[in-house]
């Protein structure tokens, strides 16, 4: 997704005499975003301060009662669980993905692009099918449970595995891009001067690729917090995320103002991370220009 942008090598150029494209070319997409993105967001905000009056109809007012309702230990628990699970999932994704990206960037040459492609190919099978396949593997009647005694379907472990599995490629892309920019002669220089390999890695490689790790980590953490399918299928309704509760208020419960307040609260909880992500992602060097 946004990871694609980070693969660009920075390029400094002086004054350009190349054609500038007219600014109005941005107008169609700007108009489109205004109607179909900002529009829904605005009406969501309006709904979150409205009151439900009867089944499915709404009274427009300015009331904080929905948010008061969100601020209940029941929902706070769900928020805490969501953030904790997403944080754990992201850290696990980093732990699994970083060494792989390092391996590709450091040790591969001819097959580098192929290795990367092989990471992305699973993306081309339906997300739902892949999650269902994990369910087959983890099923209580399956081999893992029956023969190895690992019966973890519908627990946080199953949800965790599902998160790491589905978000791993998304993390690897930006981190690989930043590892690709690494100048490995720096490591040679450091070890020649007596640094232990691990010290060289920690002080040079890790430091230089930290922006990539942060971008990639947030790129998986933020959508994990809004995850809906994985907790539903692998958590079996016993381990719900905020997204599931929001879905329920719009599906079964038909309480749109409350669901809107939950959505706004989720965005508020994520805003810090979103701001950090956007700051990293839009940094000038990534688009050169």
């Amino acid at each position: 997704m946004a990871a694609v942008a980070t693969a660009v090598k920075p390029r400094k150029s002086g004054r350009s005499f190349a054609p500038k494209y007219p600014k109005w070319l941005t107008l169609p997409s700007l108009l489109y975003y205004s109607i179909f993105f900002l529009g829904p967001m605005a009406i969501l905000a309006v709904f979150s301060v409205s009151i439900q009056s009867g089944f499915g109809s709404v009274e427009y007012t300015f009331s904080t009662s929905q948010f008061a309702q969100v601020n209940d230990s029941l929902y706070i628990t769900v928020f805490e669980r969501t953030l904790l699970m997403a944080a754990t999932g992201s850290l696990l994704t980093i732990a699994v993905g970083y060494p792989l990206a390092y391996w590709m960037a450091r040790y591969l040459s001819t097959y580098k692009m192929l290795a990367l492609l092989v990471i992305i190919v699973p993306f081309w099978t339906s997300f739902l099918i892949r999650t269902y396949a994990l369910k087959i593997i983890l099923d209580s009647h399956g081999y893992l449970a029956q023969d190895l005694g690992i019966n973890i379907l519908y627990t946080k472990y199953a949800v965790g595995i599902g998160l790491v599995y589905n978000y791993l490629p998304l993390f690897i892309l930006p981190v690989f891009a930043s590892l690709e920019r690494m100048d490995w002669t720096l490591i040679e220089a450091a070890t020649d001067l007596g640094a232990k390999p691990f010290t060289a890695f920690k002080d040079i490689t890790l430091r230089l690729t930290m922006p990539g790790v942060v971008t990639g980590g947030l790129l998986v953490f933020i959508p994990m917090c809004g995850e809906y399918i994985i907790p539903n299928i692998l958590g079996g309704g016993k381990f719900e995320f905020v997204g599931n509760i929001i879905g329920d208020t719009f599906g079964d419960a038909q309480n749109w103002p409350f669901g809107s307040a939950l959505s706004i609260s989720l965005m508020a909880a994520l805003s810090v991370f979103v701001v950090i992500y956007i700051m990293f992602a839009t940094r000038e060097e990534q688009f050169g220009a």
Partner: protein, 307 residues
């Protein structure tokens, strides 16, 4: 000597880890393919009256998380189930339309933004990234309220259905397309365009003959990526679909309320088609590479959205 050996050990360790991770990534896909050939459980076959065991209903199928024996009848069953094939067709055409419109929007924005002053570009960038990072469930419920409310209050927009799915999906896909295309546009520099200008080519012909051909890998990448995301998208369509069934919606309810290996069979077929397409695109790109500075190394990569 010792240092060389240590480096070699490190390399082996990383390679072993990589193999493990690849196995982890591909195990579920292998499971999908293998279980597309799985029979219903022995007890369900014993109590089944008909002759084609693939006509057994999901509720009676028994335990299909273990291997019950080989059958290939799920492929025919899947292809003859109109619930599935209709949904796949619906998803295909929505994804096709969404990716084309999104790529056109993204291309325009990418061209203009790449050489715009930062002051103008920054707010647009923030908007683009917001469309990508706001949780999809939030966008989904917001779009649901939006489409329903605007229709009932202003009479604008079609009722919930195919078109509202399409309208909603274009937002995310346009941002995706914009980033992919702009990354390449910035990356390829402006030397050749400058040269075309110096040689007296006008803006339109420069774009048509110089810029667009060199941007093509990114444009194709944007199309492919947004097609994939749209085709695979569950959450947004699940809230804005009305009564329209897309393939992910059908899949989801199958996973929740009763699934047969017919679904695995269809997924296997689609995987096969995708792999053939990937190979075909790779070969095509290799053939049609436009020679030029700073271009070749990312030929294949760019086509798969890697900039």
């Amino acid at each position: 000597m010792r240092r060389r050996r240590r480096i070699l050990t490190a390399k082996r360790g990383f390679t072993a880890w990589a193999i493990l991770v690849y196995a982890f990534l591909y195990l579920p896909i292998l499971v999908v393919v293998i279980f597309a050939f799985d029979k219903p459980s022995a007890t369900s076959i014993a109590t089944f009256k008909g002759s084609n065991i693939c006509n057994i209903q999901p509720a009676d199928i028994g335990n299909i998380s273990v291997w019950n024996g080989f059958t290939s009848c799920w492929f025919a069953k899947g292809l003859n189930t109109s619930l599935y094939t209709d949904a796949i067709k619906t998803s295909f055409f929505i994804a096709l339309e969404a990716s084309i419109i999104a790529t056109i929007l993204g291309l325009g924005a990418a061209l203009a933004l790449a050489r715009m002053k930062r002051r103008w570009r920054a707010p647009f960038d923030v908007l683009v990234y917001l469309t990508l990072v706001v949780p999809e469930i939030v966008i989904a419920v917001a779009s649901l309220i939006f489409f329903v409310q605007v229709r009932s209050n202003l009479g604008a927009f079609p009722p919930l259905g195919r078109s509202t799915i399409l309208l909603g999906q274009i937002v995310f896909n346009a941002s995706l397309a914009m980033l992919v295309i702009r990354a390449r546009f910035v990356g390829m520099g402006d030397k050749l365009e400058e040269a075309a200008y110096d040689l007296g080519s006008g803006p339109v012909s420069t774009f048509r003959q110089v810029t667009l051909p060199r941007l093509m890998p990114a444009v194709i990448a944007a199309l492919l990526l947004s097609f994939t995301f749209s085709f695979d998208d569950y959450v947004l369509p699940a809230f804005t679909n009305g009564t329209t069934s897309t393939w992910p919606i059908v899949l989801y309810s199958a996973v929740r309320f009763g699934i047969t290996p017919a679904v695995n069979a269809l997924a296997t077929l689609m995987l096969l088609v995708t792999l053939i397409l990937i190979v075909a695109v790779a070969i095509l790109l290799r053939r049609s590479r436009v020679e030029g500075p700073g271009q070749e190394e990312h030929g294949l990569g760019a086509a798969f959205g890697l900039g």
